[in-house]
Amino acid sequence: MPDNNHFEPRIVAFLCNWCTYTGADLAGTSRLQYPPNVRIIRTMCSSSVDPVYVLKPLLDGADGVLIGGCHPGDCHYQTGNYKTRRRYVAMQEILRASGFDPRRVWLRWISASEGQKFADTITDMVASLKEMGPNPMQVAWAI
């Protein structure tokens, strides 16, 4: 078993351009510190996150995937995040049912003004993933 205390989780984040990406920027401009374990990929809307974008990191051994979108009702494209939410529900069911830990995939509504919430989310996610330990897919080769 790897030592979870020294294990640094790796997170891929898909953040919507209008809210969460901007919120992450605000965390930056406000110099809020959070663990460096996340790599952000910008998307226009959380609803454009394809299931493959979540599954591939999980199967390739990333420890967590974060999807960030505007708060319900705030979507720049009016209703994109509602669709994201449904897709996330389906994906969570599938992950849970197929023996993956669905806690590795987070969906969070973080607005452009919630720099602190973004930083807190990353901090919490890293802590939570540390507790869960490394993604077993990191060493699984026959997949």
């Binding site: 493959v52 009702g73 995040n81 449904r86 529900v89 197929s98 077993p136 060493v139 026959a142």
Partner: protein, 372 residues
């Protein structure tokens, strides 16, 4: 109403055949999709326009080569070119409804003729039954009508655990459960159509008896279903074990080809998007020490699950098609049911009900995305 079509020669199959013939000859439909039985005893789905050819029709044979929804999709696409009758099992009509929602088929000008389904055998088992003449079709149907199954090979697992053997969507519904076929072929049918076909209403139809049989059958199947699912869940329970279950996958994509829902012209996994440069494999190998070639197997299955789990009708054709005996159908059915339950969605039930992933409510799962 319930009508009775008399058993002319005392044989259910003959009755069904002549009933189907009346549809064609009375000009109710122009063509009929129904399995025909070849001289060698093969049951093959066919499109029939000549009533005479219905002499060899056999929609009652307990075998299913393909899910007929695919065929109806091919026959109708956006709109049926002629009035079409389709004799389908419940899982086929359900898949068809899903395909209609996905704009891959149309029910316009399509007359759905549903048959109570006592279940089907894997092709090899069916052939064995025929070859060894383990039992006669007529006897098997009579037994099924009472809710019993004759001794012999097991039904396909999907059929053993099928809890929806009664076609709900059919315009014409041929009963097997309940009264049995002794007195004739009971047909549930709209009044207008019944009149056209000269069917008279049955006044003393014993609904209760039929209900009892169905309840008993469903009860048994439900129990088995639960047992199978919990056994599978136990196997899937731990991290990564799904990888073990799919380890033997050949990437032949037969499951996808057999699936009535998978309608893509070209699967994403067969497009250039998954043509990896050589570095990809090497990088992955460097990272993990070893990788299986060719890869993306589990990614394929999980992605397919994301695409169709909400619509999975549990027909089990994928399992039947798998050359390496992965219980694909059981896995998809188990997971699909969970996804469907999450959205309160029953695939194949209601044409008006939108597919869960293309619709939404503003006020639902309000806890998701918020920090607890």
């Amino acid at each position: 109403m319930i009508g009775l079509f008399p058993l002319k020669d005392g044989d259910a199959l003959t009755a069904v055949r002549s009933f189907l013939q009346t549809l064609l000859s009375n000009d109710v439909v122009d063509a009929l999709y129904v399995p025909l039985e070849s001289a060698e005893g093969q049951i093959l789905p066919a499109l029939v326009t000549d009533p005479a050819r219905l002499e060899s029709a056999n929609p009652l044979a307990p075998v299913m080569l393909v899910n007929g929804a695919r065929a109806i999709s091919a026959l109708t696409q956006k709109k049926a070119p002629a009035r079409l009758g389709a004799v389908l099992r419940s899982c086929e009509t359900r898949a068809l409804v899903e395909l209609v929602k996905l704009q891959q088929a149309s029910l316009e000008d399509v007359l759905l003729i549903g048959v109570d389904c006592p279940g089907t055998y894997e092709l090899a088992d069916y052939q064995a039954i025929q070859k060894e003449a383990l039992f006669a079709l007529e006897d098997a149907l009579q037994a099924a009508g009472r809710g019993e199954q004759l001794e012999g090979p097991d039904l396909r697992l999907a059929c053993q655990m099928c809890t929806q053997p009664i076609p709900e969507q059919a315009d014409i519904h041929l009963h097997i459960y309940g009264e049995g076929l002794a007195g004739g072929l009971f047909v549930e049918i709209g009044e207008e159509l019944a009149e056209k076909l000269g069917l008279t209403p049955v006044l003393d139809y014993q609904v209760k008896k039929r209900q009892q049989v169905i309840e008993q059958v469903l009860g048994d199947k439900q129990k088995l279903r639960e047992a199978e699912i919990s056994a599978l869940q136990a196997r899937l329970g731990s991290n990564g074990s799904i990888a073990q279950m799919f380890a033997a996958c050949l990437r032949c994509h037969n499951c996808m080809t057999a699936c009535p829902i998978c309608y893509c012209k070209t699967c994403l996994f067969r497009t250039a998007a998954f043509d990896h440069p050589p570095e990809h494999y090497l990088n992955a190998a460097y990272r993990k020490g070893a990788i299986r070639l060719l890869g993306d197997t589990l990614l394929f299955h999980l992605t397919r699950m994301n695409h169709m789990a909400a619509s999975c009708v549990s027909c089990g054709m994928c399992s039947s098609a798998c050359p390496v005996d992965i219980p694909v159908g059981l896995i998809f059915s188990t997971i699909g049911t969970q996804v469907q339950a999450a959205f309160g969605y029953t695939p194949g039930k209601d044409l008006q009900e939108p597919l869960p992933l293309v619709t939404f409510q503003a006020n639902e799962w309000n806890e998701i995305g918020e920090v607890k």
